[in-house]
């Protein structure tokens, strides 16, 4: 189990890094990558714990596969939107655009 715990701990760290990246970075591509890191972190935790009493546990592996598919779809959408944004404005970060408008719009 200790290797599983190692994987799980690494997964936590990667997840935290990814989370920080999405929230704190500016460049859209980097934020999308950071989101993927988050996903990978969660998957690592699942896979790391995917052994019960030494025998492989198929359920988390199934969950990770599903999760990867979902992450791919989400990334595809994010990239499309980022490309469209770049095409419309020439910028790579959304910055203050699309933020809540104050009373003096």
């Amino acid at each position: 189990m200790s290797s599983g715990l190692l994987y799980a701990a690494t997964g936590c760290v990667i997840f935290a890094l990814g989370l920080g990246g999405v929230m704190l970075l500016d460049h859209l591509l980097r934020r999308i990558l950071a989101f993927n890191l988050m996903g990978s972190g969660a998957f690592l935790v699942l896979v790391g714990l995917a052994q019960r009493d030494g025998t492989p546990d198929p359920v988390p592996q199934a969950m990770v596969l599903t999760g990867i598919v979902v992450a791919v779809a989400a990334t595809a959408l994010a990239l499309t939107l980022a490309r469209r944004w770049h095409a419309l404005t020439g910028r790579d970060e959304i910055g203050a655009a699309g933020k809540q408008r104050g009373p003096d719009d």
Partner: protein, 480 residues
């Protein structure tokens, strides 16, 4: 034999997927009639299911016959039934509205996206294990982002990107929580976890709970995690805003309720004050911004931020008796109907007057009486004035708050109603203004569908105020 084929649970998910795909294959701007037919059938299915649950109790279905934990189990209880009915009903009316609202090319893929959204939401309401809920949550989120971006303007793209990143963080946190839970207990079934998680849960479970709750709060746009909502809901086309405010945010709230009452039931009461406090802040902040903003759809979007706050006031009160749950669910239904009505009424007003500002509403009471009346009726429910569903929700909330000695919650609920009155009547006062010569509203009336769909939804939220017993009796079997 018809029993194995005609399972409402499965068809409620399959049918929208079917017509969404067909709509996509037919090309851009196509699929409206398909959607309306499909939604009508789904509404019938949901009614049958609700009737069945009312008589026989919760229904289960294991998809494909493959047993858990590798298979997917669908579960429908009273709460699911209520949410399903709300979703199909509101979306059906919104579909009728959208068919008349969209000019060709304005939002070419609205119909497939809406179909996937509904499929995702139905699946969410019917799922019984936490991981499947993650998948449905993502489906709903991606479809919603797509709808926001579908108009294609830079502002909408930016709003969509912000929404997307927020929703991905939210579901990412949720997924991590699921992973931790699986690691601790070896199952993701909601019912099993409910029994396994006790007061002596390890730190990992607390962490999981916190992450899942935080992620879902972000998706439900509870203050202060609401930053993505006003631009997304305020900037999207009216039918999209209606879908988002009325239904999508309620899906993640439904999930929070499920987790609170299910797996985390023994841990939850200790932090119940936190959502309530945030909810109260949401009411104050959202109402304040709605009073101050000068764009009409932004006003309605901030109203959503405030109204979501009400939903979280119930958490400290869920411990004893059913009233708090009834209050929350009634509020979800009433707000769903009223907010959808308000958004599409606002959409019609903006479309006809050509003016996005709140001031553009001036003098519309005589030009667009049905629409203004619909807006007013929806406002009555939002303010929590009788007779309306919003009033009953407020009554239950105040009753249970006083009964449990949480007077501040009662005070917030009443105060929130007065604040809502300020921004609702801001609009109505202008509507009743005698419009002077030189107003730009053309004398032509909009299509009947635009006006009467808003009226129908608003009237439904008022009717709920008199006929709430069916909803309440559906909730009978739901915990606590």
């Amino acid at each position: 034999m018809t029993d194995t084929f005609f399972v409402p649970l499965v068809w409620l998910i399959l049918l929208p997927l079917l017509w969404a795909t067909l709509a996509f294959m037919r090309g851009p701007d196509r699929g409206g009639r398909l959607a309306i037919a499909g939604l009508a059938a789904q509404l019938a299915l949901a009614s049958v299911l609700a009737g069945d649950i009312a008589v026989h109790g919760p229904r289960n279905h294991v998809v494909g016959g493959w047993p858990e934990p590798l298979g997917i189990a669908l579960v429908a209880d009273g709460l699911s039934a209520v949410m399903l009915l709300l979703t199909q009903g509101v979306t059906l009316v919104l579909a009728i509205y959208a068919r008349s609202y969209f000019k060709p090319g304005a939002s070419p893929w609205f119909w497939p996206l809406a179909g996937f959204l509904v499929a995702g939401m139905n699946a969410l309401f019917l799922s019984g294990d936490l991981f499947n809920l993650y998948v449905t949550l993502e489906l709903v989120g991606l479809a919603a982002v797509g709808l926001v971006a579908a108009g294609g303007t830079a502002e909408q793209i930016a709003a969509a990107l912000r929404y997307l990143l927020a929703t991905l963080v939210g579901s990412g946190a949720y997924l991590f929580g699921v992973a931790l839970l699986y690691g601790s207990y070896g199952t993701v079934s909601a019912s099993l976890l409910g029994e396994l998680v006790g007061n002596d849960a390890p730190l990992a479970v607390w962490l999981a709970g916190g992450l899942m709750l935080g992620g879902l709060l972000l998706k439900t746009a509870l203050f202060p995690l609401h930053f993505w909502l006003p631009p997304a809901h305020g900037g999207a086309p009216a039918p999209v805003s209606a879908l988002l405010s009325a239904l999508v945010v309620k899906a993640s709230f439904f999930l929070i309720l499920r987790l609170w009452l299910g797996p985390f039931a023994s841990l939850a009461p200790q932090i119940a004050w936190l959502p309530a406090l945030l909810g109260a802040s949401a009411i104050l902040w959202g109402s304040w911004m709605a009073i101050k903003t000068d764009r009409l759809k932004m006003l309605v979007a901030y109203s959503t931020v405030a109204q979501i706050g009400y939903l979280f006031l119930i958490f400290p009160l869920l411990g004893s008796g059913k009233l708090a749950l009834q209050a929350g669910v009634l509020h979800v239904v009433a707000h769903g109907l009223a907010k959808a009505a308000m958004f599409i009424a606002a959409g019609t007003l903006i479309k006809i007057s050509g003016n996005e500002r709140v001031l553009g509403v001036t003098g519309t009471a005589d030009r667009l009486p049905v629409t203004v009346f619909a807006f007013a009726l929806a406002g009555v429910s939002l303010m929590g004035l009788p007779p309306s569903g919003g009033f009953l929700a407020k009554w239950l909330l105040i009753s249970t708050a006083l009964a449990q000695g949480q007077v501040w919650i009662a005070g917030v609920a009443i105060g929130g109603g007065l604040l809502a009155a300020v921004y609702v009547f801001r609009v109505l006062r202008l509507a009743f203004r005698f419009s002077t010569a030189g107003d730009t509203i053309p004398p032509a009336r909009p299509a009947a569908q635009l006006e009467w769909t808003a009226f129908a939804l608003a009237a439904a939220s008022i009717a709920l105020g008199l006929f709430a017993m069916p909803v309440v009796s559906l909730l009978e079997g739901v915990a606590p």
